[in-house]
Structure formats: structure tokens, C-alpha cells
């Protein structure tokens, strides 16, 4: 990356960034183009109550001053800039025609790019990635893929990039069984599977056509002319591609819905089986009793968070607050130790219509990133998966050491947490900071497991997991997390205090412990508020 004098960033491939930062563009205020810009500095000083002199030494990333790649507007410049001005005048008519054709071509390509990115965000966002505030954060291969799309989008005059993009879109993986561009779940419905095969074969044939149309990179001007000559053919190709992609996305949506329905059915069956096993408890072996223990844990969880059917409205209200008041950081869960929670006064009246809130959640969740998306967190996110072998090992070590002695309750998965409130609630509909709080607790647990398996002088894994937990905590401590999550946040602070102790920082132990106490001091108050809110709603 290079930085110009005004702070605008330009990379080596001449990707231009907007003159104004995203925040100024959103607010339509004047931006001085610096990084961070003046308005972002002012906002930061207001939030953190600092004077401008105290801003020295703060990382630029802390200001949240982000410049998105610019989309070029206006006519496309000629590819061959070495022509003399006289030649330009002579060939002005011809150039004008070329401009028109090229602009038309670019609009086509841009619409394709937007369609791809939007499709990736909305349709694949559940498992492939998501976007937030103009910053794309897709894991693994998708990240590069989106970057290539973005670079092609921001510099459409570079047709080689465009071709690379098209080629990457229909990469060799698509032809083989290992389809990484469109990661499809295994087909459940035979009709959907047949349709999926048909679309993939169509895309493969189109890819072959696209390869035949590839432009030699050595001569860009000649390639441009050739491309314009093939304009009509490509129009057909582009429209077919976008139509095929839409169909594919539609099939994927159907498959996901089908999977969710099956999962829900399975959950109901499991719950029924569990209830049956509870009734027959008493003559079982150790494994049966272990299952019972788990079911007891789940019942304890339900008890802890109140009646699940009643609390759902509270969660939806909480979501409304989170969705509406993204800048309204209440921060009432800490402090105010006089026996009442400030969030009470700001909490809107309990909604009478669940459907309104659900529709609100569903619309707001589409654009939301799930949890903390820092690369250091994403790196270790697979460990939080219950089926990940390393994660299982670390959790087992944690259970066999501190977890077993302390008898702390297990941290629910996102789905389990949603099911506490409403079976129709999806993790994507949860507020970002609530998910971050759960992630922080999971990483804290894993770090404790890493502590128990630590070798002499090697605390890298433990420190990395602790870092991931700290990053997640940073995403949620300023926000008003749901009261049922406060215990997990307090526990995470406690785990961090133990980790600091084993790192040799006694001061760190007392600091984290103090924060834990601050959370615990609010615990019964906030849970009471939830309880009272539910009672008032029932009445």
C-alpha cells in the first residue's frame, strides 16, 4: 500500500479509494481525506472523552476511519495513452464510439460483479462470509475471491483483471467434484440435486467459452479491440452467467431451508427422547447418568435465564435496542451500583407483536457480521466448533482441570442460546456483541484448556486463545449485552485473571478479578429486571 499526501490509499495495482471516508460519506459531511480524518478524530475524542493532544500514539484503526475502494465513474480512458494529441483529434469520432462500447461493456461487467458480491453476501453469508460497513471479511478462499472481484470492480479498465476474475469465478474446481467457488451442501432433495447438477454443468460449459475468449495480456489494446468485436457474444454469456448464478443461489436457499427444517425436527425428536430417558432414570449405567447430567445442565440453564417462552419477548426487545441504537451505547450493565440498572429506563415498552420484532430482526441481520471478525479471532474460530478435534481436546482438558473443580456451566452454542428464547430465532439474528460475548467465553474456556496442557516455556497457544478472547471482549464490553450473557462475560474475566496469574502477572489477576466483581455486582439486579419485565409483559 502506498499513501498519498492526503492520506488516500493507493495500492500497487492503482486501485483508487474514495476521497472521503465511509463515515463522512454516510453522513454526507466534508472529509479532509486524512487518515484519520478530522470528523473521525472528533468522534473518537467525544466517545473516549479525550483532548486532541491525547490522540497521539493511538492506532489509526482505533478511529474507525475507513476508505472504501472507489468505483470509477465517467468515460473509460483509452488503453493506449501514447497517442499524440493530433491523432486523438483525427480519430475522435472513432474514440467516441469506442468509449460508448467500452462503457456499455463496463456497466455489464460491474452489474455482474455486484450481482456476485451481493449474492455471496446474502445467500452464502450464512456459512461463507459476510460484509459490514463496506469492509469485506470472508474467510479462506472467499476472501481472495472477493478481493479479486473488488479490484476488478474498482479498476474496470484493466480488462486483464476482469478476465482473471471471470476465470477465477469458473475455476477448475468447479469442473471437478471439489467445488470451492459455490460451496454447496450435499443435496437433500433429489429435484434440487438434479437442478444443481444442471446449473453446474451449464457454468462449466460457459467457463470453457470464457477461456476461449481470453485476451492475451501482452497486448492490452489489441485485446480490447478484440473484446469489443466479441461484444455481442459476451452479452449473451454475461446474462446467462448471472441467470445461472441466481438459479444456483435459489437452489442453495432451498437446500438450507430444507436442512434447517430437518434439524428442527431432529431437535424435537431428541427432546422427546431426552424426556423419556429422564423418566426412566435410576437403572441406567454411567453413560445414562452422564446424559442425565447434561440434561440437568440444560435445565439449570433454562432456570437460570428464566422461562424460555417468556423471555423471548425480552430478547426481541433487546434486539430492537441493538438494531436501532447502534450508536446508543448504554453501558448500564457496569457501574450504577445503587440497586437499579440504567438500561431499565431506556428499555422501550415490551412489544405486543412478535412478528414485528422478528421481521425487524430478520431485516437487520442480513447486513450483520456474526461475532468478532478480527483475523486473530477468525484464525481460531474453528476451535470453538464442538466437533473440532483440537477444540474438543482443549475443552476436555479444561473440564478435567479447573472446569471439573469449579463446576461451571457449559457455554451454549449459538443455536442452543437461540433455542433458549425461541426456536425460530437464528444465530444470524443475534446482536453482534451478544455473539462476541459467547465467543469470548468459548475462547476463555479453550485458553484454560491450553493452560492445562501447556508445556514448559510454551504458552503460545494459550496466549493466542487469550488474545482472541480479549478481542471478542473488546467487541462486547461497551455494548448492552443480554443479561443472561453477563455471567459468561464475568466468567471470562475470571478466566483471564487466572491466565494472568499463570503468566506471572499478579497485578493482572487483580485487575481482571475486579472487572469480574463489577459484573457480578450487577448480576442479580439485571436478572431481576429481566424477570420483572417478563412478569409485566405477562400481566
Amino acid at each position: 500500500m502506498k499513501r498519498s499526501s492526503t492520506g488516500r490509499q493507493t495500492n500497487v495495482r492503482n486501485v483508487m479509494f474514495c476521497a472521503s471516508c465511509d463515515r463522512c460519506r454516510a453522513r454526507k459531511t466534508r472529509c479532509d481525506g486524512n487518515r484519520p480524518c478530522a470528523s473521525c478524530k472528533i468522534k473518537y475524542t467525544r466517545i473516549h472523552k479525550l483532548t486532541p493532544d491525547q490522540l497521539v500514539g493511538i492506532e489509526i484503526a482505533e478511529f474507525g476511519c475507513i476508505y472504501s475502494p472507489a468505483r470509477r465513474r465517467g468515460p473509460v480512458p483509452l488503453m493506449n495513452n501514447s497517442k499524440s494529441s493530433s491523432d486523438d483529434r483525427v480519430n475522435s469520432d472513432h474514440d467516441h464510439t469506442q468509449h460508448k462500447k467500452a462503457r456499455h461493456m463496463r456497466r455489464r461487467s460491474e452489474s455482474l460483479m455486484r450481482g456476485s458480491v451481493t449474492g455471496n453476501r446474502v445467500n452464502f453469508g450464512d456459512w461463507a462470509g459476510s460484509s459490514h460497513g463496506g469492509e469485506f471479511s470472508l474467510p479462506n478462499n472467499d476472501y481472495n475471491f472477493t478481493n479479486s472481484l473488488l479490484s476488478a470492480q474498482s479498476a474496470p479498465e484493466n480488462m486483464n483483471d476482469y478476465n482473471k476474475c471471470i476465470n477465477s469465478l469458473f475455476s477448475a474446481d468447479l469442473a471437478s467434484d471439489n467445488n470451492t467457488i459455490f460451496p454447496l451442501p450435499p443435496p437433500l432433495d433429489p429435484t434440487a440435486a438434479a437442478m444443481q447438477d444442471h446449473i453446474i454443468s451449464t457454468l462449466i460449459s460457459m467457463r470453457k467459452m470464457g477461456n476461449n475468449m481470453s485476451i492475451p495480456s501482452s497486448n492490452a489494446a489489441a485485446g480490447m479491440a478484440e473484446l469489443i468485436n466479441q461484444h455481442d457474444q459476451e452479452d449473451v454469456l454475461v446474462s446467462a452467467q448471472s441467470a445461472a448464478q441466481k438459479q444456483l443461489a435459489y437452489v442453495q436457499q432451498l437446500q438450507i431451508q430444507h436442512q434447517i427444517m430437518r434439524q428442527n425436527n431432529r431437535r424435537r425428536e431428541n427432546a422427546a427422547a431426552l424426556a423419556a430417558s429422564q423418566n426412566s432414570y435410576g437403572s441406567g449405567n454411567s453413560l445414562d447418568s452422564f446424559d442425565l447430567k447434561r440434561s440437568q445442565h440444560s435445565s439449570i440453564l433454562t432456570h437460570e435465564s428464566g422461562p424460555s417462552t417468556d423471555i423471548s419477548d425480552d430478547l426481541l426487545t433487546h434486539h430492537m435496542e441493538a438494531s436501532y441504537g447502534s450508536g446508543n451505547k448504554i453501558r448500564a450493565l457496569l457501574g450504577d451500583n445503587n440497586g437499579h440498572c440504567r438500561s431499565m429506563s431506556r428499555r422501550p415498552t415490551v412489544m405486543h407483536s412478535n412478528t414485528d420484532a422478528q421481521s425487524l430482526c430478520s431485516t437487520s441481520s442480513k447486513k450483520r457480521v456474526i461475532g468478532c471478525t478480527d483475523p486473530k479471532v477468525l484464525q481460531f474460530l474453528p476451535l470453538t466448533n464442538l466437533m473440532n478435534p483440537t477444540g474438543m481436546h482443549l475443552r476436555a482438558c479444561q473440564t478435567l482441570s479447573a472446569g471439573g473443580l469449579f463446576g461451571l456451566l457449559p457455554i451454549p452454542s449459538d443455536e442452543e442460546y437461540c433455542n433458549r428464547f425461541d426456536s425460530s430465532l437464528k444465530p444470524q439474528q443475534l446482536p453482534q456483541f451478544d455473539v462476541a460475548a459467547l465467543q469470548a467465553a468459548r475462547f476463555g474456556e479453550l485458553a484454560m484448556g491450553a493452560l492445562a496442557t501447556m508445556k514448559v516455556g510454551d504458552m503460545e497457544l494459550m496466549a493466542s486463545l487469550a488474545n482472541a478472547s480479549v478481542l471478542c471482549l473488546k467487541s462486547c464490553v461497551e455494548e448492552q449485552i443480554h443479561p443472561s450473557l453477563m455471567l459468561y462475560v464475568a466468567r471470562t474475566f475470571f478466566f483471564h485473571s487466572i491466565l494472568r496469574l499463570y503468566m506471572g502477572e499478579l497485578e493482572g489477576y487483580f485487575k481482571y478479578r475486579r472487572f469480574c466483581l463489577h459484573y457480578l455486582s450487577q448480576m442479580d439486579v439485571s436478572i431481576c429486571i429481566t424477570f420483572i419485565a417478563n412478569i409485566s409483559h405477562i400481566k
Binding site: S286, I300, L487, F494, Y502, L506, E507, M523, D524, V525
Partner: protein, 367 residues
């Protein structure tokens, strides 16, 4: 509000904090003056204006048992002390109550060791050089008895070490009937119970060597239990020292005694190696003094098999650097250097910590 006193997760967490605090209580020798001053950076939890004591236990002991009461109690800002708030709460789970009871017993033992050390020092008239300044500086504070000491003296029947461990045994027995805590892989609580019985209540002369064997065998089977939090490692280290005392007193006159001595030496060596490996993973401030190796030559000469000079059977007196003596040591000592090195290492490993703490601090200040 009383509805929330039965929240299992909160009380469990509070008991865990209490147990973990007992280690710090031991490290800092029950003196809050030696604790790093964090009050300026992170404010204390504000004390509740009114504490309603509704429960019988609350009225009896004069403390609130709800999480907010415990967390906001000025006494508990560095470590939970005084009357164990979860142990006396009958609505809390058995496991939490036992853990809090253990924490109280450990604190009580530290207090006893501290007062014993003070008496010995004044009686002999020779003040140990390393502790001289500590005792002089903290003399005013040392005259005052700790909150735990006062609580134990005032409620001796309920809160003495013996009573607490007996009550804990009953609670564990009840808990084992209803849960899986008796299962071998969840034996952490049981291990602590047996180990504390050995270390705290039994007189060294009448100590049953088999109970020491059982503690150390569990530890050798599952060394991961040493990481289960609190002063587990320190308690088991004391058990090993007690075994060493027993070995020194054993005489191999007959075959049975010889077999017992042989077994005791095996278990001692195994435990010593396991504890040494764990010790190497700990920061210096948490390390106990190194356990000596048995010397076979002394058996022939009739001397003690294991040289235990400098080692105490008391947990808090076996810490590598004593109780927070780094602060009072003159500059340039190896321990201080190593301690600083460890701190800088942890600073290198964690890059996000300071910003999180700053963020939390600002939120607290705003409120």
C-alpha cells in the same frame, strides 16, 4: 431479590473466585498492603447503601449472601475473606459450598501460620533477615487480625478447620449420591478434601500414611489436576513433605516396615518428579521450594533419608520467595530479575490486553 440468590451459575462462579483467591491470600500472606495498588486505575465496586439480611444465615453471620452483596463488600475487593458467603448459603449447590469452605480453611491456615511465625520470631529475639523489614513495616497491620481470623474465632463451632472439613465431607457425600462428582475423572474435589484433611487437621504424629498415599497416587494418575486452580499444587506439595517426614521416621526393622518404606520412597520419588515438572511451568511467585531427593547413603549412617531443612509442613511457608518478599529484597536478586522477565514475556505474548483494560476502566469511570 431473594429469588436470585439461588442462581447456580453465579454462586458457582463466586465460589470459584473465592477458592482462587485463597492462593493469592497465601502468596501475599494475607496482607492487602502488599497487593499491587489497582484502586487508582480500576475503582472498587461501590458498596451497597442498604443490605437487607433476610435469610437466617445472613442474620447469624451478619453478611449478605447475594452476589451483589459479596461483590460490593469492601472486604472482598482483593480477595474474598471473612465468613465464607457461599458456604453458609444453603441454597447454593453443594460443590460451590464445599469449594468456598475449602477456601476459608486455607485462609484460616495461612492466618495461623502467620501468627505462629510472628510468635517464633519475637520469642527467639532473632529476626529473620529477609522478613525483618516486612514484619516491621507491617507491624501495625499484623497487630490487627484478619477478617477470616475474626470470623473463625467468633464462629468457632461452624468455621474452624475441623468443622468445615467435616461439613464438607457430608456435602460431598450428599453430592456424590446425586451427581457424577464421585466419578474417577472428576475427582478434583475429592482429592482436595483428602489432601486438606491430611494437611490441616491431622497431627503429624498420628498421620495415616495411607491417606497420603491415596492423595499422591491420585495426583500421579492425573497430573492435570494440579492445574485445577487455587492452591491445589501447594496443598499436594505439603502432602509430599509430610510423606518425607514419615519416611524419615520409618524404620525398616521388619519386613513389613521395609516394604512400606520402599513403597513410600517410590511414591515420594514419583510425586516429586511430577511436582517438579509442574513447578517448572509456574511463574516464580507461585513456585514452592524444590523438593529434595532421597539420599540412600544416609540410610546406612542412620540419618534422615530426606534432608528437609528449610521446608515446612505449612503450605504458605513453602513458597519459593516466601510471601511477597520480592518487594523487600534488595535490587539485583535473581528472583526479581526472573519475575520481571516473565512479565515482559507475557507482555510480548499479549498485545490486546491493555486496550481492553483501558476500555473497561473508562466505562467504569463514566458510570
Amino acid at each position: 431479590m431473594s429469588v436470585t440468590k439461588g442462581i447456580p451459575g453465579v454462586n458457582t462462579l463466586m465460589a470459584s473466585i473465592s477458592f482462587q483467591d485463597s492462593l493469592l491470600y497465601m502468596v501475599f500472606n494475607a496482607s492487602e498492603d502488599l497487593v499491587p495498588n489497582i484502586d487508582e486505575t480500576i475503582p472498587r465496586v461501590s458498596e451497597l447503601e442498604t443490605v437487607e439480611l433476610l435469610d437466617d444465615a445472613e442474620k447469624k453471620y451478619g453478611i449478605g449472601m447475594s452476589p451483589s452483596c459479596v461483590a460490593s463488600n469492601p472486604m472482598n475487593q482483593f480477595w474474598i475473606q471473612g465468613v465464607p458467603p457461599i458456604f453458609i448459603n444453603e441454597k447454593a449447590s453443594s460443590q460451590s459450598r464445599v469449594l468456598d469452605a475449602f477456601a476459608c480453611a486455607i485462609r484460616s491456615d495461612v492466618d495461623k501460620a502467620k501468627s505462629r511465625e510472628k510468635v517464633q520470631t519475637t520469642r527467639t529475639g532473632r529476626v529473620v533477615s529477609r522478613k525483618q523489614r516486612f514484619l516491621l513495616d507491617a507491624d501495625a497491620e499484623a497487630k490487627e487480625r484478619t477478617a477470616t481470623e475474626c470470623a473463625v474465632d467468633f464462629h468457632d463451632e461452624e468455621l474452624s478447620c475441623t468443622s468445615i472439613l467435616v461439613e464438607s465431607s457430608i456435602l460431598i457425600a450428599e453430592d456424590e449420591q446425586s451427581s457424577l462428582s464421585h466419578h474417577s475423572i472428576f475427582s478434583g474435589l475429592r482429592l482436595l478434601k483428602i489432601a486438606l484433611d491430611v494437611v490441616l487437621t491431622t497431627e503429624p504424629e498420628s498421620l495415616d500414611i495411607q491417606s497420603i498415599f491415596s492423595v499422591l497416587e491420585i495426583m500421579m494418575e492425573q497430573p492435570i489436576l494440579l492445574f485445577q486452580g487455587g492452591p491445589t499444587y501447594h496443598i499436594i506439595n505439603s502432602c509430599t513433605i509430610l510423606l518425607a517426614h514419615k519416611i524419615n521416621n520409618l524404620q525398616s526393622n521388619d519386613l513389613d516396615s521395609a516394604l512400606l518404606l520402599h513403597k513410600a520412597l517410590d511414591i515420594y520419588n514419583g510425586s516429586r518428579m511430577t511436582l517438579e515438572k509442574h513447578r517448572s511451568k509456574l511463574p516464580r511467585r507461585l513456585q514452592c521450594r524444590k523438593l529434595p531427593t532421597p539420599s540412600p547413603s544416609t540410610i546406612i549412617s542412620g540419618g534422615p533419608v530426606i534432608d528437609l531443612s528449610g521446608l515446612s509442613t505449612c503450605m504458605s511457608l513453602n513458597l519459593q520467595d516466601g510471601a511477597c518478599n520480592d518487594v523487600y529484597e534488595e535490587g539485583g536478586s535473581n528472583s526479581l530479575k526472573q519475575s520481571k522477565m516473565q512479565t515482559s514475556k507475557s507482555d510480548e505474548l499479549d498485545v490486546n490486553d491493555n486496550s481492553l483494560l483501558t476500555m473497561c476502566r473508562m466505562i467504569l469511570k463514566e458510570n
